[in-house]
Amino acid sequence: MPEPTADPNTEVRMLLAAAGLPASDDEVAALAAHYPALREATDALYAPPEVRYADPALRFRAEAEIVDWA
C-alpha cells in the first residue's frame, strides 16, 4: 500500500496518472498549487452535521428507457 504523502505535486501526479490524463509537468504544478484548497473545500462538504444522514439530490430510477432526441 502506498504511503500517504503530504506533497500535493506527488498526489496530483498520481491521481492524474490513475485517470490516464497525460498532463504536462506545468499542468501538474498548476493543479498542485490549488490542490490543498480544493481538498479543503471538498472536505468541508462533509462537515455540516445536518448532511450526515442526507440522501443525495440525484436519484436512481428502476424504470428507465433511452429515447433518442431526434
Binding site: 485517470a19 490524463l21 471538498t42 462538504l45 440525484l58
Partner: protein
C-alpha cells in the same frame, strides 16, 4: 425604411402591424453580421441562405393568416453546443466528433423552428462550454460589443454579444455555472436560466448532467418569457425534464405584496467595481418604490454550493470526456484540460457527498423562500474584463472567479433572471439577478418586466463597432 425594432416583442408587433417584414429583419441581421462579426466573433457558422428561406416562409405564412406566435419570423441565434440540422456542431472544439448530432435538431431547436423562428447560425462559445478564449485555436475569440478589447463573458459568448450587437433578437444559451447570466451581465442584455428540468437538455453537448440548463438570452424579460414559452415542456429523450406548464406572464401594475430578499453577503468583495453598490441599491429602490418589501437575506450554504458546483461539473464532465481526454489531450484548450483534470482529483465518494450537500442546501433555500418570494443579488461584482489577460495566460484572470456570483444557483437548480442594472465606472454593463422558487419563472419574469418598465438599462445599445464604447440611449 425606418429604424428597425429593438426588442423581439417590438419586432413581433411590427411584423403583425405590417411595419416590417421578416425578410427585412433577416437582411438587416445578415448585413449587421457581415459588418461587425469579423471583429466580434459571434458566429461559428452562419446559415444566411436557410435564414432567408425561413424569413420568406414566415412572411408568406403571416400574410396568409398563419401565426405561429411571437417568435414567428424573428432572427435567432443558437449556441454551438446544440445540434442543428443545417450545419455542424463543434462545441468550439477540434475534439467533438463531427458525426455527433449531424443532420438533426435538438428538441429546443425543433421547437424554435416549429414556432417560426428564423435561425441565423451557430454562435460561438467556450470549448465545450468551459474552456477560456485562446487565439492559438482555429476558432474566433468572441469580443464584447461594448468594448471589443473586453470579454463578452461565457460560455454563451456569441449569443450574448450577438443580441447586444443586433445580430439577432434572441438566442439560446446554456448555463452550468453561469454561462447564460455571465454573458448577459457583461453584454448588458437579459438572460434567463430556467429551473433545472424546465427545458429538455437532450441534443446538447453536456457539460454537467445535473447542472446544465438551456435558456433564452434577449433584450428584455418580456422577450425571454416569449422564448421560454416555446422551449419549455417535457421531451421523452430527457428524463430530467418535467411537465410543468408555463405561460408567459403579463407585466403587473405594481409589486404590492412582493417580498424581496436582498443578498449582499459575499457579493461585494473589496475590489468590486466602484459603481456596483449604487447601481444595486438603485434597483432595490425601484422594487421598493413599486411596492415590494425588502429584507436582508443570507444565502444558505453559499460556500458549499460553490464547491459543489465546481466539483460536480468537473466529475460529470470528466466522465463524458475521459476517453477523448486520454487520447487527444493536446487537442483540448489548456483551460478545458485544467477543468477536466479537477474531476480526477476528487473521489467518487466526494461526488456523492456534493450531491448530499446539494439536497440539504435546496431544502434550506426552500425554507428561505417561504419568508421571501424572490431574491436579489448582483450577477457579477465587476464588469467585463479585458481579453488580453485571458489571451496572455495571465493567471490573475482567475481572480475574476471571486467576482462571479452565478454558480450557487446551478447547484440548487432554481430559476434565475439576469437583468442589466446600469454601468460600471468604466462605462461597461452591470447586472442584477432575480432568483425564485423552482418552476416560478413566471413570478421572476413579472418582476423583471416591471423593473424594465421603470428603467431603460435593457434598451441601451453599444456604439457601432469601431465607433468607440459610448453608451447609446
Amino acid at each position: 425604411m425606418t429604424e428597425l425594432p429593438l426588442t423581439l416583442t417590438e419586432a413581433a408587433a411590427s411584423l403583425r402591424a405590417g411595419l416590417v417584414t421578416s425578410r427585412e429583419l433577416t437582411e438587416q441581421a445578415i448585413a449587421t453580421a457581415a459588418r461587425v462579426d469579423p471583429v466580434l466573433g459571434c458566429y461559428l457558422h452562419r446559415f444566411d441562405s436557410a435564414a432567408r428561406s425561413a424569413a420568406a416562409k414566415a412572411d408568406d405564412e403571416l400574410a396568409a393568416g398563419v401565426d405561429r406566435g411571437p417568435l414567428h419570423g424573428i432572427p435567432f441565434g443558437v449556441k454551438d453546443i446544440l445540434a442543428m440540422a443545417e450545419g455542424p456542431t463543434t462545441a468550439q472544439s477540434d475534439v467533438l466528433d463531427p458525426a455527433w448530432g449531424a443532420g438533426r435538431d435538438a428538441p429546443v431547436v425543433a421547437r424554435l423552428k416549429a414556432a417560426g423562428a428564423v435561425l441565423t447560425g451557430k454562435t460561438s462559445t467556450m470549448e465545450f462550454a468551459i474552456g477560456m478564449p485562446d487565439e492559438s485555436k482555429s476558432f474566433p475569440v468572441p469580443r464584447n460589443p461594448w468594448d471589443p478589447a473586453t470579454w463578452p463573458g461565457g460560455s454563451s459568448s456569441g449569443t450574448g454579444a450577438g443580441v447586444a450587437a443586433g445580430l439577432f433578437y434572441a438566442g439560446l444559451g446554456t448555463d452550468t455555472g453561469g454561462s447564460i447570466r455571465i454573458p448577459a451581465a457583461f453584454c448588458g442584455i437579459t438572460g434567463l436560466m430556467p429551473t433545472f428540468g424546465r427545458v429538455p437538455k437532450s441534443g446538447c453537448v453536456p457539460l454537467g448532467y445535473s447542472l446544465d440548463h438551456i435558456g433564452p438570452m434577449a433584450r428584455s424579460a418580456e422577450d425571454c418569457a416569449a422564448v421560454l414559452a416555446v422551449l419549455a415542456g417535457p421531451h421523452a429523450s430527457d428524463p430530467d425534464c418535467v411537465d410543468a406548464p408555463f405561460t408567459a406572464p403579463s407585466c403587473p401594475d405594481d409589486l404590492a405584496g412582493l417580498r424581496v430578499g436582498v443578498v449582499r453577503d459575499g457579493h461585494f468583495p473589496p475590489d468590486s467595481d466602484p459603481a456596483l453598490l449604487d447601481a444595486f441599491d438603485d434597483m432595490a429602490t425601484e422594487l421598493a418604490d413599486a411596492g415590494a418589501t425588502l429584507t436582508p437575506v443570507t444565502l444558505p450554504y453559499r460556500a458549499e454550493m460553490l464547491t459543489a458546483n465546481m466539483l460536480t461539473l468537473a466529475c460529470e464532465a470528466l466522465a463524458y470526456h475521459r476517453t477523448d481526454a486520454r487520447a487527444r489531450w493536446a487537442d483540448y484548450y489548456p483551460a478545458t484540460r485544467a477543468m477536466l483534470a479537477r474531476g480526477a482529483l476528487v473521489s467518487g465518494a466526494d461526488y456523492v457527498q456534493a450531491q448530499r450537500m446539494r439536497r440539504v442546501a435546496q431544502d434550506a433555500l426552500r425554507r428561505t423562500l417561504t419568508d421571501v418570494d424572490v431574491l436579489l443579488c448582483p450577477t457579477t461584482s465587476v464588469a467585463a474584463p479585458r481579453l488580453d489577460a485571458f489571451l496572455s495566460g495571465d493567471s490573475s484572470i482567475m481572480t475574476l472567479l471571486g467576482h462571479i456570483h452565478t454558480g450557487y444557483w446551478d447547484s440548487v437548480g432554481n430559476p434565475v433572471l439576469a437583468l442589466p442594472m446600469g454601468f460600471s465606472s468604466a462605462g461597461l454593463p452591470l447586472s442584477v439577478q432575480l432568483a425564485g422558487r423552482p418552476f416560478d419563472e413566471a413570478g421572476l419574469l413579472r418582476v423583471g418586466q416591471l423593473l424594465q418598465r421603470r428603467t431603460d438599462w435593457h434598451l441601451r445599445r453599444p456604439a457601432p463597432v469601431g465607433a468607440g464604447a459610448e453608451v447609446a440611449a
